[in-house]
Amino acid sequence: MKYHTPSSFQEAAQIAAEATGTTRFLAGGTDVLVQMRAGIVLPDELIDLKKIPGVFEMTRAADGAWRIGAAVPGARLGANEDLVADWPGVVEGMELVGSTQVQGRATLTGNLCNGSPAADGVPALVAAGATVDITGPNGTRTISVQDIPAGPGKTTLTKGEVISAIHLPARGENGGDAYLRFIPRTEMDIAVVGCAVNLTLDGDVITSARVTLGAVAPTVIVVEEAAAAIVGTNLDDAALEKLASAASTAANPISDKRGTREFRIEVAGVLARRAAKIAYARAKGE
């Protein structure tokens, strides 16, 4: 295995594009090193992105939009009070990934690129309408986070492409988001079901919403019907019931070692209801 420390994303993309064997990018390493240790992935080229200037930067622009560098670890998201105030759901999603130790290394970008349908960092990003900057051998492009996952372990990134940063839109007034996942223990597990809700209010009435589910389909899913169930309401019990029902209906999970299909369908609705209440309270500044 060759270990590379490029000093720009262009260089990283070039190395990856020219590689003939197995290539992996390294940021936090909390997925790649596990795969290497288990012998599942034995890279020929390992490209460490952490020497590239700016990868650890996290900034809020004048318009309120956020840029999060590719190597910013989870622990630093939670330590940024402004980010927590703007996008608490995004932060809590990432903070649920692994232990305190893993938080010292794991990144949102890595969580996204690992391609797990159960990635805790992703549903809230999608609910927030986040985008990513991609550098490839032929230049750069920006696409929606939602368009990255392509199924378990797969992304839409092409050979040589690497994500350099994640962008979150400006939070704006009267908005709130939340992410909840279900795991059997209190920590350290992969989500059996995950649900993020992002919404904005006018007074008590929800004016816009996005509801996303993780671990109930090959990729994170956006549930339009669930959002529609609560838009125009003040999140009364009837709206919550419709929301839960829409989330459960949209869920199309498998049964596996982490939970049954029936359980995931049921709990998708439960989490949607609970996450919506939290997001609503946050939007109201409670």
Binding site: F182, P184, R185, M188, D189, K257, R258, E262, F263, E266
Partner: protein
């Protein structure tokens, strides 16, 4: 030796720092993987990816072609003709004709680096013919089930049953028909528990060296260095005395490190590589796939109870699979499950069944948790039906000294009633419960064990003492043994050093298992110390010119025994030791035996839970362990055993299980998915140490390590029943299962 239970002790019952504490908080303590040797090679093991497959061909050509690969071994490198348990050990060490489970070792390789050994292992080509497999115990018993191996069954198994049934256990007493007829309520239920792993945090690791002369050395994390020696020698066809085994510090065992796995492979690789030492360290995945899980169980219980709570009769059939070899702890499950109560009539049947899973190893009170889960759950259900208090019913039927256990022997001094008494008086039973919360109570039992024991001790020139024991210190036994020896000698705790010896320096010792270290090594250490004391009294007698019988030992000094013996000032241990070079030479003591006087330990646990009705998730609100220790030599480590046992039982009850896919491959071979309890999953675990001293031990010790894992399974099931109204009969009570039960699915 009779001891007054009200006797005051100077050291026994205090809580000094453990002797190995400093090493263990500074990272200095050396565990299995921490040792290296000059010229050392690394070993890696090739494992079957199939649950059941004929091994057609093994081709190591490509592996051996790599620079730095020094040896490859397959079954062909091991002697033929072994029988019985020796064959089982050899077959489990390295597969012969067939791979019997996912993870079964089929070849091993040694190379100059770990990466090279792993690469070489990947290059060893194994051709398999995949065979039908069976995982579940009830499936494995069916007449048309895939047969793991013919000819394993012993004579207890009736003709016509599946060859996978290898042993049938039957015992009972009384007229069951009449007993059920006399009952006011007879209920029957079936229960299942899934296989769990001991989950020690330290993976198996060894550093083995063997020359062509059959002489060898091994450094290994184990609960029993003599077992390693005996088993490796049997598997390799070498002489036990020529192998010297040194136990490392051990990072947890819980029964799982009382046998061999890859240790003979390191010796075989070393022998083939010209005697270079070979280190093998298992990955977590190897640990979970190929080392000692416990059995899985399927159990039927039928119980008769009178309106006042008196038990009239019980019928049980337990079926347990213990992997691809005989040895599921079915009779222990029956014995321990039935031990706590006077049942009236008993009819017990058990089956030991083989299946395509890793060979089960002992796991803390082997069998007892499953048996108790089935019996204590049904008992609880019947108390609810008859409107009786669960603790009162246990009092009413509890065994006391002199009662005959369902499996035969009479109980000696036991403290079950005292344990129930202490439970009843605990404030946790008064805590108020809210919605979706419930309280569960259950009892448990473990025999405790003596085992072959050899201990030696010696007085040093400065009057301090060293003790060599053969039982590795897993949870503070150096401290408890030092306390007892210092108490007996009348010297300071700090003046005793307890060493865990390698196989070359003591007679045979069984492992630290069966809750025996503080009982058996402790008792032997006290007896060895008394031998040394006798010698010191003799030295004083010689000096004083009186009969040795006229000298007694008290407070660390020889003294004339009464005024008739003469007037001499006490001769201290320091004086006697300082002069020993000129008074007859070294002063030491030793003791070898199967120490008699084992005392059984009963426990009772009370747990409060809250179950989320929308997700089926169970949260533990408070937890109480009450258990009879006989006497707690070092109470902190007794509490630690209680708390650790409870935590493991909680894991077993709620989340831990072996999950297989339809090909018989283990699906959760990492800690991410094999869910042991976390710090954030548990509350504080309250403990009460009941002390009904065991008259068979000089300081009243019973052994405390194992009973504590038994009650949590039924206690949690009973608590979930109380919180939800749903009786969970299949462990673990994972959220999926609980929610399905709540929804009536």
């Amino acid at each position: 030796m009779a001891k007054d239970e009200y006797r005051e002790f100077r050291l026994v019952g205090t809580r000094p720092d453990r002797p190995d504490g400093l090493d263990k908080v500074t990272g200095r303590a050396r565990y299995g993987a921490d040792m290296t040797a000059p010229g050392m090679l690394w070993g890696a093991v090739v494992r079957s990816p199939h649950a059941h497959a004929r091994i057609v061909k093994i081709d190591a050509t490509k592996a051996l072609a790599l620079d730095g690969v020094k040896s490859v071994v397959t079954r062909a490198d091991f002697p033929e003709g072994l029988t019985g348990e020796d064959w089982n050990l050899q077959e489990n060490t390295i597969a012969g004709e067939k791979a019997l489970y996912d993870g079964h070792a089929v070849a091993a390789v040694a190379a100059t680096t770990r990466f090279l050994a792993e690469e070489a292992a990947r290059l060893i080509e194994v051709e398999y013919e995949v065979l039908p497999h069976v995982i579940d115990v009830d499936e494995a018993m069916k007449p048309d089930a895939p047969v793991i191996r013919h000819g394993v069954s012993d004579t207890t198994v009736p003709e016509g049953m599946s060859p996978n049934i290898v042993r049938k256990i039957e015992f009972g007493n009384g007229d069951l028909g009449a007993a059920f007829a006399a009952a006011d309520l007879v209920m029957e239920k079936s229960f299942k528990t899934e296989a769990t792993h001991q989950g020690y945090i330290e993976p198996h690791a060894c550093l083995g060296q063997m020359g062509s002369d059959g002489k060898g050395e091994m450094w290994v994390c184990t609960q029993g260095q003599w077992y390693i020696r005996k088993m490796c020698s049997a598997v390799l066809g070498t002489e036990a005395s020529q192998l010297r085994v040194t136990p490392s510090e051990i990072g947890g065992g819980f029964g799982g490190k009382t046998t061999i796995f890859m240790e003979p492979l390191s010796l075989a690789l070393s022998r083939k590589a010209g005697g270079k030492p070979v280190k093998i360290v298992m990955s977590r995945s190897e640990v979970l796939r190929a080392t000692g899980p416990t059995a899985s169980a399927s159990m039927d219980v039928k119980l008769g109870m009178k309106k006042d709570g008196t038990l009239s009769g019980i019928q049980v059939e337990f079926r347990m699979q213990g992997g691809a070899f005989p040895g599921a702890p079915t009779e222990f499950a029956l014995y321990c499950g039935l031990a706590p109560y006077k049942f009236g009539a008993v009819e017990a049947v058990g089956y030991d069944v083989i299946a395509n899973r890793p060979r089960c190893a002992a796991y803390r009170a082997p069998g007892a948790p499953m048996g108790s889960f089935a019996i204590e759950s049904l008992l609880d259900e019947m108390c609810l039906k008859l409107g009786l208090d669960a603790l009162d019913v246990r009092f009413k039927n509890a065994v006391v000294a002199g009662d005959r256990a369902a499996y035969g022997p009479k109980f000696g001094s036991i403290g079950f009633v005292e344990t129930l008494e202490a439970t009843k008086n605990h404030p946790n039973l008064l805590a108020e419960l809210g919605p979706n919360q419930g309280r569960g109570i259950a009892a448990g039992y473990w025999f405790n064990h003596n085992g072959e024991t050899s201990v030696s001790m010696a007085i040093s020139e400065d009057g301090t003492a060293q003790v060599s024991v053969g039982t590795p210190d897993i949870g503070g036994s150096r401290a408890s043994i030092a306390l007892m020896v210092a108490e007996t000698l009348g010297i300071a705790y700090e003046d005793v050093r307890v060493n865990v010896a390698e196989t070359g320096s003591l007679g045979v010792n069984e492992p630290t298992h069966g809750s025996r270290a503080t009982f058996a090594s402790g008792k032997a250490a006290v007896l060895a110390t008394e031998a040394a004391i006798k010698e010191m009294c003799k030295r004083a007698a010689n000096e004083w010119g009186i009969e040795p019988d006229a000298v007694e030992w008290a407070d660390g000094a020889a003294r004339p025994a009464g005024p008739n013996a003469g007037q001499f000032p006490p001769m201290t241990i320091k004086e006697i030791a300082g002069a020993m070079g000129s008074t007859g030479g070294p002063i030491s003591g030793h003791h070898e035996s199967l120490p008699d006087g084992v005392g059984a330990s009963f426990g009772c646990h009370v747990v409060d839970v809250e179950v989320d009705p929308e997700t089926g998730r169970t949260e533990i609100l408070r937890y109480l362990v009450v258990q009879d220790a006989g006497r707690a030599i070092h109470p902190s480590y007794v509490e630690g055993q209680y708390q650790g046992g409870a935590a493991q039982g909680i894991g077993w009850a709620l989340n831990e299980e072996y999950v297989y896919d339809d090909k018989g491959r283990l699906q959760n071979s990492v800690f991410l998915d094999y869910r042991v309890p976390l710090a954030s999953d548990l509350p504080k675990i309250d403990t009460v140490i009941v002390e009904v001293p065991n008259p068979g031990h000089p300081y009243g010790v019973r052994g405390v390590g194992e009973t504590g894992i038994t009650p949590p399974l039924p206690a949690l099931a009973n608590a979930v029943r109380a919180a939800t109204g749903v009786r969970m009969t299949h462990l673990p009570m994972s959220p999926s299962k609980v929610l399905a039960a709540l929804k009536g699915r």
